[in-house]
Amino acid sequence: MEKQFLEIINQHQGIIHKVCAMYIDDLEDRQDLFQEILIQLWKAYPRFRGDSKVSTWMYRVALNTAISNFRKEKRKPQKTNLGEPIFQLADSPYDYEYEEKIKILREAIHQLSKVEKAIMVLYLEDKDYEEIAETVGITQNYVRVKMNRIRNKLKKILTKQ
């Protein structure tokens, strides 16, 4: 079973990285969340019967874990530092325009609630409304409503740039 599980994780571990990047800025905290999601996936794996796609199941577990992530408040100020990289980029020639876009994306993500982040990560991964609704547990109609709200929220942020 462990071998099968490791194969799945090797194939789809990008899902965990994406969810972690969506919810956590601090690199150390993100590694903790990665481990937590991994453990929860391992615990949930014996009950996974393949009724849904592996990726859908992984998103469910990862998003549930991220939203209910229980972290002790750090003693240091929890100020969001937009200068800190939310994504660890590979060594590449410095591209100011690209960096600027990343900064905007980062700022946009910071404005979203935990639920909106869940919907957003699924949307950014090209999931259709049916799959988003199924994963989040709301109707497709409400997914549309939420997406409109997110769009409007982001539009305000993006027009400020």
Binding site: A21, Q35, A90, I104, L105, E116, T135, Y142, Q161
Partner: protein, 208 residues
């Protein structure tokens, strides 16, 4: 920049992020050996601690009383031990009940509902349990401590009105102090966490 642009940036970044942070099977296996930090696991660890403390207290209490050979103290010993052991059994039952819950593979809304419901039940149980055990164990400790060196079978009737009054006032004051303390302690542990979860659930239920 439009939302579609964000999508393409997200995909680029995610790709790079995955390349940088990608773990191999060995690293994944090593991470799986770690201890989970989620709320349920913390509650389960708390429950095990409570069970351990109750059983240890029962054993120590029984050992002390038995070593004194005072037959009239036996009903008291039995009553207190039964309360402690029943509390421990109840906590063990709760532990296994929690172990069977699997919110992670459910959708977000149902997962949140189960989590909030379980946390609230646990906090209530923990609060009531602590508030009940505080006077019971304090009164027992007081009576036992007062009669520690008395070997007579009539030790209970030797406690006069003043001593009983002091015992009850002490228990009352301690319970009174415990009430705000327990409320503060539980709020500090899980209060803002439960609030945050409820906020998420409300957002998902706004639809209706």
């Amino acid at each position: 920049m439009e939302l579609e642009n964000l999508k393409s940036i997200w995909k680029d970044i995610s790709k790079q992020e995955e390349q940088v942070s990608r773990l191999d099977s060995e690293e994944i296996t090593s991470l799986l050996k770690g201890k989970t930090q989620n709320a349920f696991s913390k509650i389960k660890r708390n429950l095990l601690f409570e069970v351990g403390s109750l059983l240890l207290a029962t054993i120590v209490f029984l050992g002390l009383i038995i070593s004194q050979h005072v037959p009239s103290k036996i009903p008291l010993v039995i009553s207190i031990s039964v309360v402690f052991v029943l509390s421990a059994v109840y906590y063990i039952a709760k532990y296994y009940q929690l172990s069977r819950i699997n919110i992670q593979a459910d959708n977000l809304k149902n997962g949140l509902k189960t989590l909030i419901n379980t946390l609230e039940k646990f906090l209530k149980m923990y609060f009531i349990g602590s508030m009940a055990l505080t006077p019971a164990s304090t009164l027992t400790g007081f009576i036992y401590g007062y009669n520690l060196n008395k070997q007579s079978d009539d030790w209970l009737s030797e406690m006069d009105f003043v001593i009983w009054s002091v015992a009850f006032i002490t228990v009352f004051l301690l319970t009174l102090t415990m009430y705000p303390f327990m409320r503060w302690y539980l709020h500090k542990l899980y209060g803002s966490y439960v609030q945050e979860l409820k906020y998420c659930l409300t957002e998902l239920e706004e639809e209706g």
